[in-house]
Each structure stands twice: as C-alpha cells, then as structure tokens.
Symmetry: C2
Subunit: 220 residues, 2 copies
DNA sequence: TGGAAATATGAACACTGTTCAAATTTTACC
DNA sequence: GGTAAAATTTGAACAGTGTTCATATTTCCA
C-alpha cells in the first residue's frame, strides 16, 4: 500500500531552516499572516505561492527557505490554533473540576470547545481548508493533539470509575471526542440558533452515553 | 465570499454528453473501472488523467467527452456506492420494522451500515479519496443522500413519538446520522476486533440518546 | 574595511488538468 | 455499396501550478 510518490526525506521538520536572524523571524510571521488571510479569503488552492510571496513582499524562494512545501504553511497555521484549543481543554481539568457532578463536567467541557470557536472565528476557516486539502497521511502532529485530549479524558473516566479497565476508558474517550468534534463542527455551519441547539443536543448525547458507564458523582 | 474561480456554467450535469452508442457506454465503464483501480492503488492526485486514459486505452480527450473534469470521475464512483448504501437503508424501513423495540431497531440500522462496508470494501477507499480531495462545495448530490437518510429517520421518530415536533425529530435524526457515520468510518481504520468493539459502542451511544426522546416500544 | 558565510531572488523546470482544430469513424441515404 | 454529413476520437498545445537552484544580495565578524 504505497502511500504516494513523495520521498520521505526531510519534510519531517516543520521548518526547513530555523530562522536565526531577527529579520527572518519577522519574515516567517509575515508569510504566515498573509497566508492565513489569503487562505480564508480565496481558499487554499487559489492562494498560489506566487500570490502569497507577492503579498508578503518576499520572493517565492524565501517561502521555501522556511517551509518544505505549501502544505506546511497551512499545517503551521492549524497547529497554532490547535495548541490554543488543547490548552483550554487542559485548563479545565483542575483538581476541583474532577469532583464535579457528571452533568456539570460535560457541560463545561463542551462549552470549552464551543467557546473556542467563538473566541477564534478564524480557526474554522483554517480547519476547513486543512480537512479539504491535506491528504490524510502526514497529519501526525495534528491528531497528536486529539490523542492527548482522548488520553486526558480517559484518565478522568478511570478516576471516576476505577473498576473500568483503562483500555475501556480510552475507547469511551475516543468515542466521545470524535462525536463532540463532529457535532460542534457541524454546529458552526448554521445560524446562532442552530448552533446553540446543536450544542445542547451534543451535551445530552454525551451525558446519556457516559451515564451508562460512570456514576453521577465522583467517588469520595 | 466567492467560492472559487470556476464558472458555474455547464458542469452541473454529471456527464458532458450522454453516450448514445453502445461502444461509448463500454468506454465510460472502462474509464470508471480503470479510474477506481488507480484511485485506490496510487491515490486520486497521483492518478493523472493521462495515466487513466492510457490504462483505459483511450485518449485524454475522450475522458473529457463524458466527464466535465477529473473530480466528476471520482464523484461518479462515490455516487454508485452511495446509491447502494441508501437503498439498503431504505429496505430496512418495512412496515414490520417500524414496530420493533427501539433497541432492536438501532441494532439493525447500524448493522446495515456496517455490513455495507463489509460487502463493498472498495467503497472505503473511494469515500476516503472523496473526503480528501473534493472541495466541500459541489457535493450537492453526495449529501443529498445523507439528507434523505436524515429525512427517513425523522419520519420514523415522529411515528414513534407523535408529540415530538417534526423539526425536533429532524434535528435528532441529524445528530444520530452524523454520529453514526463518523464512528463507523472510524471503525474501518482498525483491526476487526476494534471495529466490532466500536460498532457496539456506537449502538450503545445511539440507544442511550434516543431513549431520552423515544419510548422503548412503538405506539399501538 | 574586506571577504566569507548566510540569505534572498525569480527565471527555469517538471508536471498538472484542460481544450480544440484536425483526423477518424460511424451513420444515413440513394 | 458508395458517399457525404454527422458524430466521435485524438493528442499536441495551452495555461497554470508547486518547486528548485544558480546567481545576486545582504549580513556578519576579524
């Protein structure tokens, strides 16, 4: 099952060369900012490398000095948002939150993801472009974040119901994560009322399922 | 929010020209068969129109006589599978099945989709290529099938719980459809044990959620 | 200041999907 | 069966892409 033709030589690093001079770092920022704007406005495919270079006031060659290929620019933008999203999720899991009633925990967790899209409206377009464009190999880094969310959730479940095998907790966490991600993503495509409604349904779905495995309250 | 650059002129029809002669229809079949094989083996992007034409024993021009562009070939392949899938779903909704206990209905419905992927293993690769490649506009026909599934489900729910508003039934059906699609898709990525396990979790998730709205048994 | 190392440039390259005038095949009519 | 019109097939040519790399420029440091 050969993946493609591309040689897996040195595209592994996000950046081809670490920018050592201050001016270079500004350049990278400039390229990223222009690329994000163009990707959102006219789409990933229509935003040619020539256009990005021209708009950023650099040459095409300069882009390839920092990014191994065009996809890497989009990936870098997506990772910037994913880090923010993951951090918010982690911040939710304070010792205090671990003892919350299940219903309230589910409420807060889903609100965290929903609020993220409100606070970073640009992330929706970038994620959409990513889903449309990137060939599902080489997402490593991207679903690394998803795996970390699943892992954190699994630990939370195991603390709630120690009799549940950790592997079972991971499976439940995976189901929950995939489902919430999909439904919240769907909610972004409609008007505010639709979105609010779908968030409520997502909470109900999640809670109903988790109640099959977890007690309402945390063990003392 | 301009969608792209493409002119929405006459790409609307699946085929540029309806094949009128018998030989032409064989040609279309030949192109589709070769394209499916190449898409699965080396991927959509690597399968150039030149390669498809050569392998099918026709010229590039002939391809464009029947398909407005390369995407249309992939879409035609996907629609062939989607029709099969949708037909199976419809076949499930006999008058007899409408009175089944909720648990058994959920069981059968999810098995229908799961069984489809077993019976048509090639569909997975084609759907994957479609998700990776097609820009989320112009899928009309594709999620037409999804909408019909949602609609059929909504009618079923309304028959089960007439007090539920039809709009509410549609929303529930949408949530269920999106969730099952996502989880079963995920299940295809693992080994048979993982897949079986995920199908079971999908059933539990679906049933738990539906029980919040629907009675266990159909009304008399 | 001078020259070596780092950085920036954009024409050239390889390859893509797509078109369309010309060649070929089929059809229809006597 | 012969022939001209219509339908169909062809593939070189076109337009546009991402990417490279020899060359020019800038920065750095003795």
């Amino acid at each position: 099952m050969p993946d493609s033709k591309s040689s897996r030589s040195s595209k592994l690093n996000k950046m081809r060369r670490q920018p050592q001079q201050a001016r270079s770092q500004e350049r990278v920022q400039q390229i990223l900012d222009v690329a994000e704007q163009l990707f959102v406005e006219i789409g990933y495919e229509s935003a040619t490398t020539r256009a990005i270079a021209a708009q950023a006031g650099v040459s095409v060659g300069s882009i390839y000095q920092f990014f191994p290929d065009k996809e890497a620019i989009l990936k870098a933008l997506a990772i910037r948002y994913l880090q923010k999203q993951y951090q918010r999720f982690l911040d939710l899991h304070t010792p205090a939150a671990m003892t919350l009633p299940l219903r309230q925990y589910v409420d807060q967790m889903i609100d965290v993801f929903d609020q993220f899209y409100t606070d970073y409206p640009g992330s929706r377009a970038i994620f959409a472009q990513l889903l449309d464009t990137i060939t599902w190999s080489k997402i490593e880094k991207i679903d690394d974040f998803e795996y970390q969310v699943i892992d954190e959730l699994a630990r939370f479940f195991h603390a709630r119901a120690p009799s549940l095998a950790i592997s079972k907790c991971e499976r439940i966490a995976m189901v929950i994560t995939k489902t919430i991600t999909e439904l919240l993503w769907l909610s972004l495509g409609g008007d505010p009322e639709f979105r609010q409604d779908l968030v409520a349904e997502t909470k109900l779905l999640t809670l109903s399922y988790l109640q099959q495995y977890l007690p309402e309250s945390a063990p003392e």
